[in-house]
Amino acid sequence: MPRIAEPLSRRTVLAGALGAAGLGLLSLSGCAPARQEPTIPQAAATGAARPGGMLRVARPAASAAETLDPASSLSAYEYLGALYNRLVKLDERGGTVPDLATEWSSNADVTQWTFRLRGDVRFHDGGDFTARDAIASIAHILDPATASPQAGVLGEVIDAAAMTAPDPHTLRFRLSKPNAEFPSLLAAYQCYIVPADAIGDPRRAGIGTGPFRLSSFHPAGTGSVEAVDDHFAGRPILDGIDFFSVQDASARVNALLAGQIDLISQTNLDFATARVVSASPRATVARSENAQWYTIPMLATSPEFSDVRVRRAMKLAYDPRRVVETALNGTGSAGWDNPVPPNMAAFLDEPREHDPDKARSLLRQAGAEGLSTKIYTSSYDAVFTPLAVAYRDAVADAGVRLTVQNASSDSYYTQVWMQEPLMVSYWFTGRPIDQLLGQIFRSGSSYNESAWSSPAFDAVLDDARAETNDARRRMLYQDAQRLIVEDGADMTPMFGDRLVGISRDVVNYAEYGFEFDYLSIGFRK
């Protein structure tokens, strides 16, 4: 899921009310530091954890249709990393590192990849993990009946017949076209490995090789997992995790403040709420840095933005640093319209210029001087409206007049997204570089939210995939970023830190992209 749905639109109102009431009451009762604005901590607490304990997590469940099938678009996200492993995972810089596979290599023209798998891994039901399970799990993703979100990305280079197992712990892929970044595509959170004979059997759902085994699971309700003592990556610090579904964001915050839970998952607290939480004696805020990738797609097929000069003007006109200050109170970093987060190895560090006069003259050339249109927002995410307002104010210098239009949050992504010429949107960061560029920016991709189509960009991407030299491939991916910054239609004003509500007793919380460290997290000694 590129975004986790926030089903209720009143959450901002409630959180705002909570914020106001909370600040008042907390300071009345002497809990808040006197006359000092609570600041939001920069990093999660680390330190020695005491072995054991049950972590209580409040999560927004997608719906009663959620499932433990990792390939499905309705998967219960928080359980996946606890229950399962993938062949490979991503490190913080976007590099591919071992999980169930220990090493991998390709042939000279990167059309064949061979993965060596661990031989010491057992599923929770006692069965041995072999290449057969990996083949079945990936074939299940590719199966059209599964309708997996990752099917398109993988289906571009492999089909079920492309996978073979020369021996039980070797897995070979024959790609239909060269792809030097193929292993990174297997790091997606749909690619968790399940036993071959458990696929399609709801009674065996949840069996994996992960550090926790399933104790119970109620869709949109509660669930529990317990630590596996002899896990190949070591025993987790915790004894187990209890998951609770709490739909309303302010109810999740209340539960945290009352000490009923220890962690709120998949929830970016708005700044006011984050301050209340930081001031609480029981809870605090941890950051998942740059986890929220905010975008302003200009629909390239719309009359307003089909002209590249207009799109360039819309970028030159604003200073993203100002937007970060206004919309995020500084809890993030400026994007400069480059969609690659600054912490990734392939990041192109060349901030574009900010020049409202040049923007004005470009608009004049395009016959769009004094451009006036609507920018859509909704309460889907707490930052959307601040972002739309900050962008509107920022481009006013270049004579662009935007009207902020609020749309219903529960149909924002079905009625406004990819249909209105200008809107604010977001994704979670955590895609490997090739998937990020290919999925969101390649012509015709179903996630290409700005409907931008550039043959030059597609060609650079193809060249990068076929390039086996790592340094040269990185340069090609940087060329692709340059094309997006100059010609693209999907602006990236900023990356926001996800402000995560967490108990003061929890240490070693670490989450980046779609990776969560389930092994080290624990309670303070």
């Binding site: 309708a147 209340n254 539960a255 403040l257 009923q260």
Partner: protein, 325 residues
């Protein structure tokens, strides 16, 4: 004879109300942007997947034939299966309704009793300190939205003084016993929100009745103030308040969406929000029918109580028909 006709008419109108409510809700859901296929699959959906799901769910058929099918099923007591979970609607709705009753019944019993008492006290002691205190409090409670009240109570009793749980962590699978500690705060919020209205209307009704001639007569007869109020004023003063009580009880039983949501309480209101979000039509329809039935029953009960309290109402119809004859 005419009583039977009258009751029959009431029942028919009640049934018609429920059917009309179900029709309007059905049409309203059609008018919402997006359908269950889109809402469920979200933006991960490929057009093919959406089309396939629509066909499986029968969403490609026209509105009227789908409504007719639903109505035929509902008449036979079959409310269909949830489009989201695939499970029959009935059991899930019953659980949620039961949970809602768990907070609504104490709220009704306590709230109505206390509110009526306070209303009478305020009315009788009109203009005195007691009246001012009661009226002001009621006015404040009426003006504060329920979610605000809920948030303040959570802050006080769950966060600053942690004696009660802030939210319900267990989902629909929770047993009533497990829910009990979590029942207190939502029930208190509902009680306060509802009682304020009843206090206000009971107060004005009491003031009105206390100035009538028959009350003055009773006072002049030398009855004690308590006797005057209990035997003479109260029965008449209650009559106009009954409708207010009925409406409030129905509002409460029909699922107090906001309150349940703030507390993550697995009742009918929360189920409704989720069903509307997912465009889960069979579940929304079943909730609409239950809510409409509750409204109808509450109003019916109010009318019946009015009949029992006031002998004049039982005879009015006959008197009028004789006059017009």
């Amino acid at each position: 004879m005419s009583a039977v006709v009258a009751v029959g008419r009431r029942v028919l109108i009640a049934l018609l109300t429920i059917v009309l409510a179900s029709l309007f809700v059905f049409l309203a859901v059609q008018a919402l942007p997006g359908d269950v296929a889109r809402q469920l699959l979200g933006q991960d959906a490929t057009p093919e997947a959406v089309a396939a799901l629509r066909e499986t769910l029968g969403l490609d058929r026209d509105v009227w034939s789908r409504y007719a099918d639903w109505l035929l099923g509902a008449v036979r007591g079959d409310f269909g299966v949830s489009l989201v979970s695939g499970a029959p609607v009935g059991p899930d709705l019953l659980t949620a309704f039961g949970n809602s009753l768990l907070i609504a019944v104490p709220a009704v019993l306590v709230g109505i009793t206390v509110a009526l008492l306070l209303g009478v006290v305020a009315g009788v002691r009109r203009g005195r300190t007691a009246d001012t205190a009661i009226s002001m409090t009621a006015l404040v409670l009426m003006s504060v939205p329920e979610f605000m009240m809920a948030t303040v109570l959570v802050l006080l009793f769950a966060i600053v003084f942690p004696v009660l749980p802030a939210v319900v962590l267990r989902g629909p699978e929770a047993t009533p016993v497990e829910l009990l500690p979590s029942v207190v705060l939502p029930a208190v919020v509902l009680t306060l929100a509802m009682a304020a209205y009843v206090v206000r209307s009971m107060r004005s009704s009491t003031i009105d009745v206390m100035s009538r001639e028959f009350v003055v007569t009773a006072e002049l007869k030398g009855l004690t103030p308590l006797q005057v109020v209990r035997r003479h004023a109260l029965p008449s003063a209650l009559l106009p308040v009954l409708d207010v009580v009925a409406l409030n009880v129905a509002w409460l039983l029909g699922g107090v969406v906001v309150v349940e949501n703030v507390f993550n309480y697995p009742g009918m209101g929360k189920l409704m929000i989720e069903s509307v979000h997912n465009r889960d039509l069979p579940m929304i329809e079943a909730i609409a029918v239950v809510s409409a039935a509750v409204y109808v029953l509450c109003n019916l009960a109010a009318d019946m109580t009015a009949l029992a309290l006031d002998p004049r109402l039982r005879t009015r119809r006959r008197t009028r028909s004789r006059r017009s004859a």
